[in-house]
């Protein structure tokens, strides 16, 4: 089951949004442990404040993980060929993360319909946090 239909996908098609969160400090501890990220900036309030931040903030890779789930929702497991994100702004505990994307190009290659997308996350205020792009390979519909 995938959300993007290879028969109808075209430039400008919007990917089905995915809403995650609100992010909790517990989420950050769980992600730190599971990903093997030792940086205390995401789990230790005092450390984060000493480094000049108002408190802990989310791993950029946690939000990128949400974008991964969002892309798999669009194209299916194994459909992603390329996937990049720039961590433009910090995501904080309490933020609701909405993953969004829009198709920028479609072309065929062999049995695959290749779909380029701009992708991003935004919080509850519509502020873009991660900004990136992905290339999905969908199964090409019968001609």
């Amino acid at each position: 089951m995938t959300a993007l239909d290879a028969r109808t996908v075209t430039i400008g098609t919007e990917l089905l949004p995915l809403v995650k969160g609100p992010i909790t400090r517990e989420d950050l501890k769980r992600y730190a442990a599971a990903s093997g990220d030792p940086n205390p900036m995401h789990t230790d309030e005092e450390f984060a404040r000493n480094a000049g931040y108002p408190g802990v903030f989310a791993h950029g890779m946690l939000s990128m993980g949400y974008l991964g789930e969002f892309l798999v929702q669009a194209g299916g497991v194994g459909s992603i060929r390329r996937f990049r994100a720039r961590f433009a702004k910090l995501t904080w505990p309490g933020d609701v993360v909405t993953c969004r994307g829009r198709v920028t190009a479609v072309r065929d290659e062999g049995a695959a319909r290749l779909v380029d997308c701009d992708i991003w996350t935004e919080n509850q205020e519509g502020e873009r946090k991660l900004v990136g792009a992905a290339l999905l390979a969908l199964t090409r519909p019968e001609a």
């Binding site: 995650k20 989420d27 769980r30 992600y31 442990a33 599971a34 990903s35 093997g36 990220d37 030792p38 940086n39 480094a51 791993h59 950029g60 890779m61 946690l62 990128m64 993980g65 949400y66 991964g68 789930e69 892309l71 798999v72 497991v77 194994g78 992603i80 060929r81 390329r82 996937f83 990049r84 994100a85 720039r86 961590f87």
Partner: protein, 150 residues
């Protein structure tokens, strides 16, 4: 400032076997309910015949297989206190499968600095490739780290 002489150097190599438990813990930490990541029975009946990993799992696998990553930052002369992940890029040839052994090679791809209103920033681009036991490329990671000058 990290030395430009580091560009092109192989920084780290390592090899590890992908554990289904590690993949499942990673998927749970993302709150991703996809059964292909966590349910061996569903995965066996699925298109890959076994548990596969979520798209950003390589970051956790690299941390596990390239243990001692903090030494790499020291060697690069990066300030851990001000170090942030600026950009991340993956290329995939196929999904990572539980039970397979992958060999990683990490290189310094680029080092440069940019000056802006908040001072000078050091950029270090690390590239890591993962190959299976047949020598086939499975994924490629490009990681841009940013550190403020101190």
């Amino acid at each position: 400032m990290p030395s430009k002489e580091m560009i092109g150097r192989v920084l780290s190599t390592g090899s590890a076997t992908v554990s289904a438990e590690h993949v499942a813990a990673f998927a749970r930490a993302l709150g991703d309910p996809n059964p292909l990541y966590v349910d061996p029975e569903a995965a066996r009946r699925g298109p890959f015949g076994t548990i596969v990993a979520p798209p950003t799992y390589p970051i956790a696998f690299m941390a596990q297989a390239l243990a001692g990553g903090a030494d790499v930052f020291l060697e690069l002369g990066l300030n851990f206190m001000t170090l942030v992940h600026g950009e991340q890029e993956f290329e995939y040839l196929r999904p990572v499968r539980a039970g397979e052994t992958l060999a990683l090679t990490g290189r310094v791809a680029d080092i440069y600095e940019k000056s802006g209103s908040s001072g000078t920033l050091d950029f270090v681009v690390l590239e890591t490739e993962a190959r299976d036991t047949e020598g086939e490329l499975v994924f490629f990671s490009r990681n841009t780290l940013i550190s403020r000058h101190t």
